[in-house]
């Protein structure tokens, strides 16, 4: 009969409509899913550490400052950057141009800049302080600028440079941090949910050994040289007299200068920075602990601070500012005139009474000494012999 045909046709038509709807749904969900698999971080932090002291390690400070400069230029504010410089090169007495640190010879680019804020300087850059910053175990009196206040939606960039070897990094020529300690610190950070994703870059000799022991998720690491290779420095400046930068960071800086906040460059481009022809050493990277595909990770996810802005059309009513109340404490102040304290009250100083020295009972040392003498005496002779001696 006609009805089943109609039914069939209507059901087929319904099916067609349904298929049409599901495909539309699929497209919508695919777009949503794609957005979901992009990074879901809400803030960016950077910890930049230079571990070398002395004038001839100028290049390590220049390395760290050029990464600092790029990171600031791409939007991460000073409050979210922990900068640790183990020595002062800019105002060093051997610097012919004070308040400058150059990265290119002929003094083309001053990476020290005009508004640098260094959080840990000089002797404060130690292994202990570095690990405390990472894990957040700082004494309560530490100011905010010296803390890494990251949460579980933070993407953190960690950059280390200095002298290193197979499995260790030297701090200030007097102590060292091993790759096991570093891996454990990152695991502590993971367990305390102090990062969403972490990018670790190291520019030292045999740098790849430092990321060998990582075992926490969401870590990506880059190093300037493999185990057994040395990272070399780039070019000396004859006016300043030292090597200005290391090769890997020099080419990294050149790569980052082309990045702007809206750039779509991803991590695969970063892995190609400084091939063996330019760097002499072989840069390495490690992405097995990272959940996303490096090709979908933007450079600005770590180096910049690109915020997701949601535009809303609703208005929010802020409360009317309150009427100022009376002064604290009721009765405001007396009418007596105040006066400045005497800066150098000579008469008062001269006529001070000397402090009375209180008698203190003899302290533990004297009591202990006399007890020892008496003890030895009585042990030698015994109490019962005392009357024979005296």
């Amino acid at each position: 009969t006609a009805r089943p045909c109609m039914l069939i046709s209507s059901s087929v038509a319904l099916d067609f409509v349904l298929i049409g709807r599901t495909s539309a749904f699929l497209l919508l969900h695919q777009a949503r899913a794609e957005r979901f698999f992009r990074s879901d971080h809400t803030n960016n932090w950077a910890v930049l550490v230079c571990t070398s002291r002395f004038w001839f390690n100028y290049r390590h400070v220049a390395n760290t400052l050029s990464v600092y400069r790029s990171v600031k230029r791409l939007g991460i504010p000073d409050s979210h950057i922990v900068l640790m410089l183990a020595d002062d090169m800019a105002c060093n007495h051997r610097n012919p141009k004070p308040a400058t640190v150059f990265s290119h010879k002929n003094m083309e680019l001053n990476v020290y800049g005009d508004d640098v804020e260094v959080d840990y300087r000089g002797y404060e850059v130690t292994v202990e302080n570095f690990l405390r910053v990472l894990t957040g175990r700082l004494p309560p009196s530490t100011p905010r600028s010296k803390r890494l206040l990251s949460d579980d939606h933070s993407n953190i960039l960690i950059y280390l440079t200095g002298h290193g070897g197979n499995g260790f990094l030297k701090f200030q020529d007097s102590e060292e941090i091993s790759n096991v300690e570093l891996a454990d610190a990152f695991e502590q950070m993971w367990q305390k949910r102090r990062y969403n994703e972490l990018l670790f870059i190291i520019d030292t000799c045999q740098g790849a050994s430092m990321y060998e022991r990582f075992y926490s998720p969401n870590l990506m690491a880059l190093a300037s040289s493999q185990v057994g290779e040395d990272s070399l420095s780039h070019q000396p400046d004859l006016a300043i007299g030292v090597h200005l930068m290391d090769r890997y960071t020099f080419y990294l800086l050149e790569f980052l200068e082309d990045i702007h906040p809206a750039s779509q460059a991803n991590m695969n481009d970063l892995f190609k920075v400084c091939p063996k022809s330019q760097c002499v050493s072989t840069p390495g990277h490690r992405t097995d602990l990272f959940q996303r595909d490096p090709g979908s990770v933007l450079i600005t996810d770590f180096f910049g601070s690109v915020r997701k802005v949601e535009i809303t059309m609703e208005t929010i009513n802020l409360t009317v500012p309150g009427i100022p109340l009376e002064r604290f404490g009721g009765e405001p102040h007396t009418e007596t005139a105040l006066a400045y304290v005497d800066q150098l009250p000579v008469a008062q100083i001269i006529h001070q009474k000397p402090k009375q020295k209180d008698w203190h009972p003899p302290d533990g040392f004297i009591l202990g000494l006399w007890t020892l003498i008496l003890l030895v005496f009585f042990r030698t002779y015994g109490i019962k012999h005392l009357k024979h001696i005296f």
Partner: protein, 442 residues
């Protein structure tokens, strides 16, 4: 919960901000520029400033560079974006002979009657530009682009240097007991600029010589002696006033690893011993507290007073040495506080419009002003072990060899002999007492 208000109904005093630049060309061709920024808050959080709660802290090895200037500039209301702070370019500021920046926060009087205090934050920056090192060989200095004061006392008729553009505004102020004349450029007055919308201040030197007036009080400090065992700290205090003597409070904080011998403390002026009117000394405790020495010394007129104290250098524990121990250890500067008699009567009327730099130290008397001078920090070497790897290897190897070889040698050559035991000291002493008593001995 009652809250504090910024503007009370009683006094309409509001927060205010003032900035000023004072330029003083020196005889040597250098320029001394002093920036002063003053923020006053009309808040009366009066807490009595009791001098007994004074705390003093010093970081002798603190390198001052742009990284110190950046947070300092952020304290200004407009940062470095507007006002005189735009002139603070770090490359020029740190390439200078002398640089000093400070923040002072204190309660000040508000109004004539001084019944209500307000809080003042004063930021000062002093630079001495050395023209020859900054690459400008010409004896000429210009600054372009508030109030700017240029000190013209030394050249009233234009003998020493010539100032352009000329300004009819002259003001006199007493600074540090000396009456000086200033040409004032008021940047808030549009007449200063004329047709061009910028001010180009040019100072051109004419004469080449001339000596400066010596300051009435200044100090020097140095370490004497040789070797890594002992040494002597000498502090020299100069009083250049021709006929007046005045007291000086000397505060010295010496770290614990320089063990001072206070019995060797001597104070001499004009080759005669000068007994201080007051001495306070708090000894150090190892690893806990430094030495604190405070003395009130009367300085005779036109003299040099020398304070010397001997010390011994301590050997620190291995981990207490900094990463670069052969650089040396810094000892903080000593502080000289004095009421210096001024050569000129001062005006203590606080409500009159004064340039900021002359109202820095507020004092009650008219005939003297308060001054605080810091001496140089010292750099001393402590006996430092050799931390280098070859030294450690040699020590360990020699120890192993000594222990191994020594045991073997003993085994081969040592022989034992029987010996009568001698009496112990206690027994001998007891025998002496018994002999004296006439009792049989042990």
């Amino acid at each position: 919960m009652p809250t504090l208000t910024l503007a009370s109904a009683r006094s309409p005093f509001r927060d205010e901000f003032a900035e000023e630049l004072a330029i003083r060309p020196l005889h040597s061709g250098d320029i001394h520029a002093s920036f002063q920024f003053r923020t006053v808050w009309g808040v009366d959080l009066l807490q009595a400033t009791d001098p007994r709660f004074l705390r003093y802290a010093i970081l002798p090895r603190e390198i001052v560079c742009t990284e110190n200037l950046t947070p300092w500039k952020k304290l200004l209301p407009c940062g470095s974006k507007a006002g005189l702070a735009v002139l603070l370019k770090s490359e020029k500021l740190f390439h200078s002979s002398y640089f000093s920046q400070a923040v002072h926060i204190r309660p000040v009087c508000q109004g004539m009657h001084c019944t209500v205090p307000s809080w003042e934050m004063r930021q000062t920056l002093n630079v001495v530009f050395d023209l020859y090192t900054s690459g400008q060989g010409k004896r000429e200095w210009s600054m372009f682009k508030i109030k700017i004061y240029v000190d013209v006392t030394d050249s009233p008729q234009g003998e020493l240097f010539e100032l352009s553009p000329p300004t009819p505004l002259l003001s006199q102020a007493v600074v540090l007991g000396d009456r000086r004349t200033y040409s004032v450029y008021d940047l808030t007055d549009p007449g200063t600029f004329g047709k061009v919308r910028s001010l180009n201040l040019l100072v051109r030197w004419k004469a080449d010589n001339g000596d400066m007036l010596r300051p009435l009080l200044h100090g020097e400090r140095y370490v004497a002696g040789f070797g890594l065992q002992t040494g002597e700290i000498h502090t020299l205090i100069y009083n250049n006033h021709p006929y007046r003597a005045f007291p000086v409070l000397l505060l010295e904080t010496v770290p614990w690893y320089l063990r001072l011998y206070i019995h060797t403390l001597t104070v001499t002026s004009k080759n005669r011993e000068n007994k201080p009117s007051y001495i306070h000394y708090q000894p150090s405790k190892d690893r806990l507290r430094p030495h604190l020495l405070e003395m009130l010394v009367q300085l005779p007129p036109n003299s040099v007073t020398e304070v010397t104290v001997q010390f011994e250098r301590a050997l620190l524990k291995w981990t207490e040495y900094p990463p670069d121990p052969n650089h040396g250890f810094y000892v903080g500067s000593s502080v000289l506080s004095a009421l210096v008699p001024s050569l000129v009567a001062m005006d203590t009327n606080i409500t009159q419009e004064h340039p900021l730099f002359s109202s820095f130290f507020l004092c009650k008397e008219e005939s003297s002003y308060f001054m605080r001078v810091y001496t140089e920090p010292l750099l001393v070497n402590l006996p430092t072990p050799d931390f280098s790897m070859p030294y450690n290897v040699i020590c360990l190897t020699c120890t192993v060899v000594a222990v191994g070889y020594g045991s073997f040698y003993n085994l081969l050559t040592r022989t034992f002999q029987v010996e009568e035991p001698s009496q112990s000291l206690a027994k001998r002493l007891a025998n002496v007492i018994r002999r004296w008593r006439g009792v049989p001995q042990l």
